[in-house]
Homo-oligomer: 340 residues x 2
């Protein structure tokens, strides 16, 4: 089935509207919260003055607009979906930085380091509540259903992060467990982003599910790429120190694959992860080499290719309007070559 699309719908124009709606909604939150949310998102300075920048890549709202447009959603529905997923993303980042003690975000000091952890947490709460409100107020008979999808996504996100936390205490994480964790931590919100506009539009279940599966695979490819960059990324581009994830003994995808590979190299890597003491400047490159020798990098690259191909397959099954489908495909194809 080919979906008809309102000819006037222009995803780029709608996406500019999302950026405006995000700012308008944030400004209507209470003053302390607005200042922090605007700073975190990049369009306010620490002092609350307008800053150059804003939404960043805004992958999630871009997906919401494209997915919505593909499924026949109105501009208003696309905007509501875009704002909601961007808010949930910011909710999660603000809180992550507090939980992990990360002091930098998007090349600026993390919000909690500027405004304090309690204020950053309260801002994250307000954004989560506002995300659900924006959807409930969307002009669609499916607004309540879309909100339920969003809330379920928040719980999936929590589940993923809970699993990620539990990994810190374990050395026996399997690749399957890693993928289940990433499906929650990262892919759930990307999947929700791609399909939420379709839910609001009341699109047929096969369209909603197809877009959601596209998003799940895109999200997994995205997280796996992030994990590659966390070890072998260019520090100038990623804004993280070289080999950052190994220094923190993070159980990212290449490490999990390497630890599960068997053999002597895997045992040596395991020793580095088991020993709670500090790592020397020669330890960390040695760990990176071991991960490569155990084919942890290869496994991750192959897995990215697999999920990218799967995302494209999900799209092609949907027969979406050609131009939107092309943009969604381009997003998936660009993930493996991400550099930041």
């Amino acid at each position: 089935m080919t979906l008809a699309r309102t000819p006037a719908l222009d995803p780029r124009g709608i996406h500019a509207e999302v950026a405006r709606a995000v700012q308008d909604t944030v400004i209507r939150l209470c003053p302390g919260v607005s200042a922090i949310a605007g700073y975190h998102a990049g369009w306010l300075t620490e002092e609350g003055a307008p800053a150059v920048g804003g939404l960043g890549k805004a992958l999630r709202s871009r997906l919401a607009v494209l997915g919505g447009a593909a499924a026949g959603a109105s501009t208003g529905m696309c905007v509501a979906a875009g704002v909601a997923v961007e808010f949930v993303h910011d909710f999660s980042l603000l809180q992550d930085d507090v939980m992990d003690g990360d002091t930098e975000r998007r090349h600026r000091p993390a919000a909690w380091t500027v405004f304090g952890a309690p204020a950053a947490l309260l801002t994250s709460d307000a954004l989560l509540a506002a995300a659900a409100e924006v959807l409930l107020e969307a002009d669609s008979p499916h607004a309540a259903c879309a909100t339920r999808v969003l809330l379920k996504t928040v719980r999936a996100l929590v589940l993923g992060q809970t699993r990620d936390l539990a990994f810190e205490q374990r050395l026996d994480v399997t690749p399957e467990e890693y993928l289940a964790m990433a499906a929650g931590k990262t892919a759930a919100l990307i999947s929700c982003s791609a399909s939420l506009g379709a839910v609001l539009a009341g699109a047929p279940t096969e369209v909603v599910m197809g877009l959601a599966e596209y998003g799940t695979n895109l999200g997994l490819a995205f997280q796996l790429t992030d994990d590659l960059l966390g070890i072998w990324g260019d520090a100038q581009l990623t804004g993280k120190p070289v080999l950052a994830d190994l220094r923190r003994r993070k159980k990212s995808a290449p490490v999990v694959a390497a630890l599960n590979s068997g053999g002597l190299h895997a045992l040596e890597l395991r020793d580095f992860y088991e020993d709670p003491g500090p790592l020397s400047e020669t330890d960390v490159p040695r760990m990176a080499l071991l991960v490569e020798q155990c084919h942890g990098r290869r496994w991750t690259i192959d897995r990215i290719a697999l999920h990218t191909a799967e995302a494209l397959r999900c799209l092609s099954g949907l027969r979406l309007p050609q131009d939107v489908a092309a943009e969604l495909a381009e997003i998936a194809q660009s993930v493996p070559s991400r550099r930041k």
Copy 2:
């Protein structure tokens, strides 16, 4: 107008159902989250075994059930409202303890001290999402409207806590500013609790508003009483050290009233609050005496009486079924004599 009540509706029976529904819903959350939520609420031990205890006073869900019953809500609606407000309350307490670094809650170690701050925060997120989901899934054509009321309440709560945080940096907080803060931090959720069942039942606006105003006044009386107990409460009953709020230089109601009273005693109290150094064992009782001499205690007691009377006035205007109205009145009347 007198509201008819389904004769079969028994608030005590429904409230037992809320307790069961809270546990059933928590158990359906992901395992890590369930264990922490159940421990925090008191019905699981640290190891996840059944514990004696549970919901505690459960003031908020009791109000939700009574308010709902008074406004003609079905049992299912009362239960949904009760579970939702109890979850929002737990969300807020779990997060508060992390933000304030409080190590004890309900006479047990605070959840974050047992499970870690990140896990406690993730549990609070899951409870907030689940609260909105429970309402959206309620069997009522007004489910979406009730969810919007709940989400607005969450934002009011955040606003109140943001103001409370800002008070820490200020010595010029006025009693009016204090009351506006308490209206958000404490009264918003109690007001929502009292009126949410009526919203689900599609009760007339005057009933919803009357119950909400009853709740706002009850909530203010509740917070003001809490502030009295924070200085003059019995440590055995409150579980907090004697004069706890003065030791922490908290700007609670009696202190704000005292600081605003003018005169030499107020200036001396101000000096204690201005000086960032540690307080001696003679300083703290001196501060308590100064608060009394500045009529800070008197002002708070009078204000509690005022809001209690106002809560009762709101009720009497509604002509609710007599037995439910009597219970709601009893709750309001019991606040000024709270000892814990």
